[in-house]
């Protein structure tokens, strides 16, 4: 079982560039989430999805967009990258709304 797979693992972007962080899960989970993690700040929810075709904003959605065309995939799009988006990004999925989350291994993004 691959679980939750995130690509790429590392990326350096220049200010104003755009990119898509990929996330795919093979557990047939309906719920998927994107978090960012900054030192000493825990995990902040960016966007989440309760199923294919349904997405909603989390705590810190500004500067990001998502789509959920299939159960397996939940890509996160950064438009016009800014230094404040330098962070480690984690994708997660769960079977139930209150179920345990399975996390990917993260994408470390630096915006310079």
């Amino acid at each position: 079982n691959a679980g939750v797979t995130q690509t790429p693992k590392f990326r350096i972007l220049k200010i104003g560039q755009s990119m898509t962080l990929q996330c795919t899960q093979d557990m047939n989970h309906n719920y998927m989430y994107w978090y960012r993690q900054d030192p000493g700040m825990g995990l902040k929810l960016i966007y989440y999805s309760v199923g294919a075709g349904i997405t909603d904003k989390g705590e810190v959605p500004n500067g990001y967009n998502v789509s959920r065309s299939t159960t397996e995939d939940f890509p996160l799009r950064l438009e016009l990258a800014a230094p404040s988006q330098t962070s480690v990004y984690f994708c997660a999925s769960s079977y139930r709304q209150v179920g345990g989350y399975t996390f990917g291994s993260g994408t470390r993004l630096t915006v310079v």
């Binding site: 939750v4 989430y33 978090y35 000493g40 700040m41 825990g42 995990l43 902040k44 929810l45 989440y48 989390g58 984690f90 997660a92 709304q97 209150v98 345990g100 989350y101 399975t102 996390f103 990917g104 291994s105 993260g106």
Partner: protein, 111 residues
């Protein structure tokens, strides 16, 4: 808006010592999860507690859910270097319907 506080933020101890990490919320939550995260990896679920006053044990780790459902603690007995990592509490509030993560406790256990 729920306020969530984990303490301590950093903890450095010697192998064999005991420690307790606390997670306190300003609001009642319906359940709570504890995760452990190692450097360069995503968090991994340790336990879910759902009943006020509940105590769960996972080898040398003891998790407690407060009676008032606003706090939880994680106690590690005889810590080992392999326990080193970031410990995150994550309550689930009925309002909002998503996990909220605390800022974490960074534990370092020295041999």
């Amino acid at each position: 808006t729920q306020l969530l506080e984990q303490s301590p933020q950093f903890l450095s101890i010697q192998e064999g010592e005991n420690l307790t990490v606390y997670c306190n919320s300003s609001s009642v939550f319906s359940s709570l999860q504890w995760y452990r995260q190692e450097p360069g990896e995503g968090p991994v679920l340790l336990v879910t507690v759902v009943t006020g006053g509940e105590v769960k044990k996972l080898k040398r780790l003891t998790f407690q859910f407060g009676d008032a459902r606003k706090d939880s603690s994680l106690h590690i007995t005889a810590a080992q270097p392999g326990d080193t990592g970031l410990y995150l509490c994550a309550p689930f509030y009925n309002q909002g319907g998503k996990l909220i993560f605390g800022q974490g406790t960074e534990l370092s256990v020295k041999p």
